[in-house]
Amino acid sequence: MSATIYSNSSFTDTPYGLSLRQTIVASTSSVVIPTGIQRVYAVVIGGGGAGSTQTTGGGGGGGAGGYSAGWTWITSSATVGAGGTGTTSSGVGANGSASIYGMIFAGGGSGGLNSTVGGAGGGATTPTGSTSTTSYTGAPAAAANTVGYAAGGGSGAAGAAGVSSGGGAGIATATGTQTGFAGGRGLIAGGGGGAGTAGTGTGGAGGTGDFFAGGTGTTGTGITFGGGGGGGGYLGVGANASANAGGNGGDGGGGGGAGSTLGKGGNGGGGAILLYY
């Protein structure tokens, strides 16, 4: 056999030297790849989880969307996961949705729990709760408060750090001075936890992403304050909270900030697909 594997780019597994050609952010899109390109390197990001809200006190921030990357054959369609949509109803925040291009896929982030606990960051599939899922590389799931590729949600703590970080925990106590916990730091970041109190309440800041900052929580006296900031996404900043409503997560999978005292939980940031060739 005399095949020269190095003259065939199909045998080269590094993305080194490739350029970003397409960024797909619509919910579902058709994709046009130029003739002659048979495979591409895809970065796939799931939607961020929504922050939760609670009747009394603050909810948990949403987890960041999952992040997967690798070579895939080309396809003419792509699915980009939406961020979870926040509500004013006490209960869990909605999970973000998964994104997929070819054989690269990433789960959404978990919504904040029906408590003060933050949602986990997404792995290759979408978690529900404060424990994440296995990542596309095979990195293990992480429990609450645990660093991971897909990190765990915060339970009485800031969201855990990772590639896709967890949402910060909220505060249940509705009297005195209270401050929600920040979302975890990550390549894509989780949302901040909420604080709803008759005293001075401050929502947790959204987690800081590598490329974009998280939003700030609100501060004030009384239960109309204390929303958590949205987490920084891969493509955009997290929004600041407003009154007792959480800020939306940044585009590209940022987790939504938590609401407090039935303020609306922030939406998770929409997912994205970036194609390099």
Binding site: T4, I5, Y16, T137, P140, A161, V163, L187
Partner: protein, 297 residues
């Protein structure tokens, strides 16, 4: 033949290691280092910003988490930090994990973009609970006073390679894994060694000699002994830039040795730079090796 793969040979599971009668794909390359690229930056713990030249989109990163810490007295060796490597998009921020220092103090994680490695487990003295390390980190040795305890478990790494478990099954040597298990304890004899792996486990406590740290790309720390022999030796590591072994330190009658890191030898009970696990010190606390981040482009 010279490898003409100019774009670099990644340490990817779908590798360029295809067979061919006229090619030797892995000649003079390593499974971790990217062929054809140069080491451009070495980033130490505490640094949070990175400057990448314009025009560089992709960076190959090697991340080592910090090694765990240990404490004087009835304490085992600490686990080595995790190790991960691969391609990521360039960005301006990073996290490089600090070493664990003292009782039950785990090493910090290291991350650049989507490449991340956890820290090694710190060892809790006097029959303290075994900490669970993070993402690829190795477990610490046992300090069970009854001499029948298991070491801590190592953790599955970035690539999904399973961690090794600590075990109560004689001889209680920690199991092999990406993050290896810590050694158990022994009430009558030498302490069990930490497991070998990518990241070596900490040694367990014995009577006649402390358990040695496990060898790996990053070595685990050695352990205490309750009688009159020597403490445990630190496990060896490998300098991933040169392929040269990094030295764990031999135990003495007063302290155990730290494990070698991917960036340097251990020193006394202190783990080597790049995640080496701490050995049981003569007094006070001992530190693991700090994490490290290498960037190639």
């Amino acid at each position: 033949m010279a490898n003409p793969n100019r774009r670099g040979q990644a340490g990817s599971p779908v590798s360029t290691g295809s067979t061919g009668a006229t090619a030797t794909p892995f000649a003079n390359t390593s499974a971790i280092l990217p062929y054809g690229l140069q080491l451009k930056q070495t980033i130490n713990a505490g640094t949070t910003s990175v400057t990448i030249p314009a025009g560089i989109t992709w960076v190959y990163a090697i991340c080592a988490g910090g090694g765990g810490g240990s404490t004087a007295g009835n304490a085992g060796g600490a686990g080595a930090g995790g190790l991960s490597w691969g391609w990521t998009l360039a960005n301006t921020t990073c996290v490089v994990g600090a070493a664990g220092s003292g009782n039950a103090s785990d090493g910090g994680y290291t991350r650049y973009g989507n490449i991340i490695a956890g820290g090694g487990a710190g060892c809790a003295g006097n029959n303290g609970a075994r900490n669970a390390p993070a993402l690829g980190g190795a477990g610490s040795g046992s300090t069970n006073n009854a001499g029948s305890g298991n070491g801590g478990n190592g953790i599955t790494n970035y690539f999904g390679i399973s961690g090794g478990l600590g075990t109560t099954v004689l001889p209680r040597i920690g199991n092999t894994g990406s993050g290896a298990g810590g050694g158990g304890s022994n009430a009558a004899g030498d302490g069990p060694a930490g497991g070998v792996g990518i990241s070596g486990g900490g040694g367990g406590v014995g009577t006649t000699k402390g358990g040695n740290g496990g060898n790996g790309l990053i070595g685990g720390g050695g352990a205490y002994r309750s009688s009159s022999g020597n403490y445990g030796d630190g496990g060896t590591g490998i300098n991933v830039l040169t392929g040269v072994t990094t030295l764990g330190v031999a135990g003495t009658s007063t302290r155990a040795g730290g494990g070698g890191g991917i960036g340097g030898d251990a020193s006394g009970s202190t783990g080597g730079l790049g995640g080496g696990g701490a050995g049981t010190p003569a007094s006070g606390s001992s530190s693991g090796g700090a994490g490290i981040l290498y960037l190639f482009y």
